[in-house]
């Protein structure tokens, strides 16, 4: 039951939406995070009356149960959420579902700016230059 419970918690925190996969299907290796935040998971299970009961609950009820446990332990809950969030939002399926590229920033980097920008910026700055001095001596 443990794996199902972990997946149920993960999917309650980060459910799917359209092309965005739920956390249990985003390829996360969340074992270490869930172990580190085990006390919070225990609190969520306790709020539901046990892991089985949490797994058996419908998504709306799970959300309420997680919210209840999180309200009782706000700091621990925030730590769990942010730790899972970092894994989830760095996973390739999620990054791509948000319309970004799932690759290292280097060595390719990214192109920024359009050829016309320099001329437009120079034109806009003429008005600023015309103000001469706005600093106080």
């Amino acid at each position: 039951m443990k794996a199902s419970f972990d997946d149920a918690v993960l999917d309650t925190l980060f459910p799917g939406l359209g092309a965005i996969p739920p956390a249990s299907r985003a390829g996360l290796d969340a074992t270490a995070v869930l172990t580190r935040h085990g006390a919070m998971l225990t609190a969520i299970a306790a709020a539901a009356g046990g892991e089985d009961a949490f797994v058996a609950a419908d998504p709306g009820t799970r959300t309420v149960l997680v919210e209840t446990a999180g309200t009782a332990e706000p700091a621990a809950f925030q730590a769990l959420v942010l730790a899972v969030s970092a894994l989830y939002h760095a996973s390739a399926p999620v990054v791509e579902a948000y319309g970004w590229v799932a690759r290292a920033p280097q060595p390719r980097g990214f192109a920024v700016g359009a050829p016309a920008d320099v001329a437009e910026a120079a034109q806009l700055l003429e008005k600023v230059r015309a103000r001469r001095q706005i600093w106080r001596a």
């Binding site: 939406l17 970092a86 989830y88 760095a90 948000y98």
Partner: protein, 526 residues
């Protein structure tokens, strides 16, 4: 434990960050006969190991390569930065830094503005803070020298400043985000200008041009962003200065009102390095910590901690604004409201700065409710379509904002350290004014929605004022040459020296002041 005693040297520099690098480079050039040793608690960065080469780099942004040393320590630490825990539970802002060769230039944004002339005369002009012991004109040659050593991309002719030398490189590309912000400022008739960046926009000084990869604050893997492990220390070491890494200075040894050297800890044991002059440059937290631990009794030591007040407004746009690419802090800024206008209800001013978007995981972590379906909806609305206008105000020196020792011994052998800081009513008024202007600009630029973040706790980069310069030993720690009052041979050369904070990033001024301090010492020993 026995302490190994080394042969004396002329100068020991504690730290290898921005101030230490600017100081040492200038001193080594101007007084080449001096023997100089640099003691750095951390190590050298291995650029090949930095997160930007990893597809899952975002995880490191929020963990071992976070900008907060406390967060890094909680994530297990990262070897080149010899972090120490800072009790920031009583501070509205959280101290951010890097404790290795290069200091916080490793993970800074490299936004490189100068102070305005008025920033050095706040008491005379506006009746607040204190005047610095020198003026902008006095510091100007050192600004120029410092700019040349870092390498600046920018554009001359900004009417918000006295004339500056032609920059060797054009500004970093503004991109969709910068151009959108520029049009917004333009529609309101407000000042704006491309920032001065210590980031190469072209190949310069043996380093490549920026390729806009994004995560500047986890270290620049290409070397396009200036950091003193590239721009200063190799040149300094080539001149014969010795750099010792993994050296945690425990105490500046002081007897009968003058320094005799420093005691530091290495993996092999404790060492006493005799020296005629000790220069401390460990930033506004580390310098105060070491001097307090060494028994320096100046009443202002550790007091008047200034970070800069900071908040921001996020604007959401209908169109794509580039996404998480380009140097985070280097786009455009406005000093329309920088100088005092008493009709605003406060004196001094605010700096408005367009900042680029963060990676998806960082954006997600900042949501008001960062989980559940609502989080997806919020993130879909803002990712790739948001711009933050950062508002920075001049944080005035207040003695109750301070750095203090905790009374316990920390893991590194030094006394533990804490920061106590509350945002003043003055800063709150200034920030609120700036946030109003930021909203106005974002609307003018076409934002369909704005979200106000009144206080940004994780902006505590600027650790200033805790060993401030001045003429009165009752209210300052050093004189205008960085020499500690009443302790011969003890000098400070970092942002701790700042008498006031201005309302802009301090890196350029830390470098200029440290260069001036070195120049004064070189003249004294000539």
């Amino acid at each position: 434990m026995s302490v190994k005693r080394l042969e004396p040297v002329d100068v020991v520099v504690v730290g290898a960050g921005l101030g230490a690098a600017a100081f040492t480079r200038h001193l080594a050039e101007e007084a080449p006969s001096l023997s100089i040793v640099v003691l750095e608690r951390g190590g050298w960065v291995d650029r090949a190991a930095l997160p930007a080469y990893q597809a899952d780099f975002q995880r490191d942004v929020l963990g071992p390569y976070a900008t907060s040393p406390n967060v890094r320590l909680a994530a297990g630490g990262i070897a080149p930065s010899a972090d120490y825990a800072i009790d920031d539970s009583q501070s509205d802002f959280k101290p951010l830094m890097w404790s290795g060769v290069g200091g916080s230039t490793i993970n800074w944004a490299a936004h490189f503005p100068r102070f305005h002339p008025s920033d050095f005369r706040t008491r005379t002009l506006d009746g607040v803070g204190d005047d610095w012991p020198f003026t902008y004109a006095d510091l100007e040659p050192f600004y120029d020298l410092n700019d040349a050593r870092f390498g600046i991309a920018g554009l001359a002719g900004d009417p918000a400043y006295p004339p500056k030398p032609q920059r060797p490189m054009p500004p970093i590309a503004l991109g969709r985000l910068g151009m959108t912000a520029a049009r917004g400022f333009d529609r309101l008739g407000w000042h704006w200008w491309p920032v001065d960046s210590a980031i190469n926009s072209r190949v310069h000084d043996g380093r490549p041009a920026c390729n806009h990869c994004g995560p500047c604050q986890q270290g620049c893997v290409t070397g396009a962003k200036a950091s003193t492990d590239m721009t200063h220390w190799p040149q300094v070491i080539a001149r014969g200065v010795e750099m010792r890494t993994g050296a945690v200075v425990l105490q500046v040894e002081i007897a009968a009102g003058r320094v005799s050297g420093v005691t530091y800890r290495t993996a092999e044991g404790d060492v006493f390095q005799p020296a005629g002059t000790v220069v401390v440059a460990g930033n506004g937290v580390g310098t105060a910590r070491l001097l307090l631990a060494s028994g320096v009794t100046a009443p202002a030591l550790g007091r008047n901690l200034m970070y800069h007040g900071a908040g921001y407004v996020r604007g959401f746009f209908a169109e794509d604004l580039d996404g998480p690419v380009g140097p985070t802090g280097c786009s455009i800024y406005s000093h329309e409201f920088y100088e005092t206008d008493r009709s605003r209800g406060f004196v001094r001013g605010v700096h408005l700065q367009a900042t680029r978007e963060n990676p998806l995981a960082v954006q997600a972590a900042r949501l008001a409710r960062p989980w559940g379906e609502e989080a997806h909806a919020a993130l879909l609305r803002e990712f790739r379509r948001s711009m933050a206008i950062l508002v920075v105000n001049e944080d005035l020196p207040e003695p109750e904002n301070h750095v203090a020792l905790t009374g316990e011994t920390a893991a590194d052998g030094l006394p533990g350290v804490k920061v106590v800081y509350r945002l003043s009513d003055h800063s709150r008024r200034a920030l609120d004014f700036g946030l109003d202007r930021a909203e106005e600009m974002l609307r003018a630029a076409g934002a369909v929605e704005t979200v106000r973040v009144p206080l940004a706790p994780f902006t505590g980069w600027h650790l200033l004022g805790t060993a401030r310069m001045g003429t009165d030993p009752a209210t300052s720690v050093t004189d205008g040459s960085g020499r500690v009052h009443g302790v011969s041979g003890l000098i400070v050369a970092d942002g701790s020296l700042f008498t006031t904070s201005a309302a802009v990033n301090p890196g350029s001024t830390i470098g200029a002041v440290a260069t001036k301090v070195a120049d004064d010492l070189a003249r004294a020993v000539a």
